[in-house]
């Protein structure tokens, strides 16, 4: 059973339709990537899940039941547009935000101490937020998002504004959270991190989910019969032999061997390719190249644009 399910969500604003008919399904204890170009409707969907706005039609099922007002205590949300009260002290502010999520003062204090220690920002407790660097503020925000041990975490562009070290720390924490049993939805434009972190994705464009599935499946489905072949031998002969039948996308002579990326003609197997070249080169390595999420993203969105 999915942990969170959005069914046929429609949301219209005065000027435009943000979500036309979106259904997504997030399994428990997975990291779910919500992708899509700017203005696709991701943030609107996230806000609906957070009950910041309501859908015009459709429903959200959370842990098997329709979403209730009390569920906000079980959700942690790090919005894309995020900030803190500048004049307030860090500790006080973190405490306030956690209490708003329904934690008692004492519980919140205990947990905050733990996290501040973990992130090595204990010394900042009594500083005002405006004295903190942006990275430090981001850490505080992250802590206040996860502190009440929510079972569903939603990160909207979590890596924007983070330096590589903190971004890495954040990635590890997200993986850690999944290990701890949480379900994570995260929305990003950083496709590398999607491949790295996500189990499932939904690609939203123009108010519709146009592509859903596991990252593995999707990359398999979009594969285009491309192989990378490393070999010793004459690259010229290699090219002449193959270019009649296949498309050589890339051919490069490295220090010790040559490397080529070849798109096979349909209905040819890697084996037949290998037999063709085995006579005059020595194969060093051969690997199927799966499309990156980046490529898939661009392709799908562009195709979608044409059909609309």
């Amino acid at each position: 059973m999915p942990f969170l399910e959005a069914r046929n969500i429609v949301k219209k604003f005065a000027n435009h339709v943000a979500l036309r008919d979106v259904s997504i399904s997030v399994s428990a204890n997975t990291i779910f990537g919500m992708l899509g170009p700017n203005g696709a409707g991701k943030t609107t969907l996230i806000r609906i899940i957070n009950q910041i706005t309501g859908p015009d039609s459709g429903e959200i099922l959370f842990d098997g039941c329709p979403l209730k007002a009390e569920d906000v205590a079980r959700i942690g949300y790090l919005p894309e547009e995020r900030g803190l009260y500048k004049k307030m002290k860090v500790g006080e502010q973190a405490l306030y935000l956690c209490q708003l999520k329904g934690l008692s003062r004492n519980d919140a204090l205990k947990k905050l101490r733990f996290w501040f220690e973990k992130f090595e920002i204990g010394a900042w407790w009594d500083k005002k937020v405006e004295e903190l660097s942006k990275g430090m503020q981001q850490k505080v925000q992250f802590i206040t998002t996860v502190l009440h041990s929510p079972s569903l975490l939603i990160f909207d562009e979590p890596f924007s504004g983070f330096d590589p070290i903190n971004a890495n720390l954040l990635k590890e924490e997200i993986l850690e959270l999944r290990k701890g049993g949480a379900t994570v939805i995260f929305s990003t434009h950083n496709m590398a991190s999607v491949e790295e972190l996500c189990d499932d994705i939904a690609l939203i464009n123009n108010g519709r989910a146009i592509l859903t599935g596991t990252v593995k499946e999707i990359r398999q489905n979009f594969r285009q019969n491309i192989v990378r072949l490393d070999f010793y031998g004459d690259p010229q002969q290699f090219a002449n032999t193959l270019s009649r039948e296949h498309e050589i996308q890339e051919l490069e002579t490295l220090k010790e061997y040559n490397t080529a990326q070849i798109r096979l003609s349909p209905e040819t197997s890697v084996n037949s390719l290998l037999t063709q070249v085995m006579g005059f080169c020595q194969i060093h390595g051969c690997q199927e190249v799966l499309p990156t999420m980046n490529d898939i993203f661009i392709r799908v969105v562009n195709e979608n644009k044409k059909t609309v």
Partner: protein
């Protein structure tokens, strides 16, 4: 603890802990006390010095005709002394010297007052009046009217004393003081006006701070926008009440302190809100000032102080609430300071109009503009406050109160709809059309 009270607590505590709040709270009563105290103090300073004016009368007609007062003495010296007086004047103790050269009946300009600095008005006035009265009397006498002295005595007795009496609906009559009523009325209207502007703009800034610092989306994922708005508005209302209460307490404390220190009679009429115990204490302390107090208390009582204070609280809070919600809506709609001006206008204009109507009420509390102004919720918090010292029929007050409550429920409902959408809108140029769309847009 419910979420709205958490928000309220934060709003209250962060504001009350601010340096500006503490300074404002403690400095204002001190300034107020100073404003009341300084004139009295200066008056006592003046009292100390006795001025002596030397008079050289060449005519010999006016000796003793300029009466001495407590602080102003006139010393007639023989005419031969003039040269010496002129020579010694800079080092002498004389405040100035007056020279009368000719009979003033024929030559009204034949007198001069010499002094080192500018002659004060009261000296000038006193000399003029004394001589003029003397000359008038002389003139009348010279007409040889029958029974002149008796007639003069009669004239002296003529006096008119107007006292004003208010008749309330049930026919009871109370002594009233128009001057005092006007002062209180002005004070109330101004206070009401200040409360709305001061704390309304605090709401505006608070909302804008949450929006521009981008914390608002984090907050609304935990609480409803309406809760956030109401928490802020009520939190700031409590800050206002706290400040008010402290102002009254501190003013009273300072006044008592000053009274004890100087044991002088300071005009306490401004301390209308003071309780009877404190009054009595001061009365005992000041001793001689007691008669003044009784009189003031009589006037204060004629306004029914408890009722007035309760009404004052109601209209302050009501006036604040009706505008605070609108300020919140505008704060949520704008990104930049520059944008805010166009939306502030429609809020400030009714407040200004109310203030002008209140000024009319000082002159004529029962004109029809004032009547309507004290009923319409947007102006009533200021206009009705200015009318209260001049008794207002109960039905008008009740109607005005009901309308005010209805008004703030309406503005809160109206503002909440704009606020909900506005706080999450960034980087959009907002105009009235846009606001209207937000208002009509009916999402949950």
């Amino acid at each position: 603890m419910s979420k709205i009270s958490l928000i309220l607590k934060r709003e209250y505590i962060t504001r009350v802990k601010k340096k500006s709040f503490i300074i404002m709270t403690f400095l204002t009563p001190v300034l107020l006390a100073f404003l009341m105290f300084i004139p009295t103090w200066i008056a006592t300073m003046e009292d100390v010095e006795v001025k002596t004016v030397a008079v050289i009368d060449y005519t010999g007609l006016y000796e003793g005709k300029i009466a001495d007062t407590e602080l102003l003495k006139f010393l007639f010296i023989p005419r031969e002394g003039e040269a010496k007086l002129r020579a010694d004047f800079p080092t002498s103790d004389y405040y100035g010297f007056l020279i009368i050269e000719k009979d003033l009946m024929q030559n009204p300009n034949a007198l001069k007052l010499y002094s080192e600095g500018q002659v004060t008005m009261d000296v000038n006035e006193h000399v003029n009046r004394s001589l003029r009265n003397y000359l008038k009397d002389e003139k009348l006498k010279s007409l040889n009217i029958e029974g002149f002295n008796e007639a003069m005595a009669e004239l002296d007795k003529i006096n008119v004393n107007l006292s004003t009496v208010k008749i309330s609906d049930d026919g009871t009559e109370t002594q009233s003081s128009t001057g005092f009523a006007m002062a209180v009325s002005m004070f109330f209207a101004f206070l009401s006006y200040m409360v709305i502007l001061l704390y309304g703009s605090q709401v505006f800034n608070g909302v804008r701070e949450e929006k521009t610092s981008r914390i608002v989306e984090v907050l609304v994922s935990s609480v409803k926008p309406f809760e956030l708005m109401m928490g802020k508005i009520t939190g700031i209302a409590l800050v206002a009440l706290t400040q008010f209460f402290l102002w009254i307490v501190l003013t009273v404390v300072i006044m008592i302190g000053v009274n004890v220190l100087t044991a002088s009679n300071i005009d306490v009429s401004a301390m209308g809100g003071m309780n009877a115990d404190a009054m009595q204490q001061i009365e005992q302390i000041t001793g001689g000032g007691g008669f003044q107090f009784n009189k003031i208390m009589e006037i204060v009582n004629s306004f029914n102080p408890i009722r007035t204070v309760l009404l004052m609280l109601f209209y302050f809070v009501g006036g604040y609430l009706i505008y605070a919600a609108l300020y919140a809506a505008v704060g949520s709609a704008v990104d930049s300071e520059a944008d805010s001006q166009q939306f502030m206008m429609p809020i400030t204009i009714p407040i200004m109009i109310a203030f002008f109507i209140a000024f009319m009420a000082f002159r004529n509390p029962s004109s029809s503009v004032v009547f309507w102004g004290s009923l319409i919720p947007f102006t009533s918090p200021i206009v009705m406050m200015s009318r209260i010292p001049y008794s207002v029929p109960a039905w008008e007050i009740i109607l005005s109160m009901v309308l005010l409550v209805a008004g703030f429920i309406f503005t809160t409902w109206f503002a909440a709809r704009i606020y909900r959408t506005g706080i999450l809108m960034y980087g959009k140029k907002v105009d009235y059309k846009e606001l209207w769309k937000w208002f009509r847009y009916s999402g949950k």
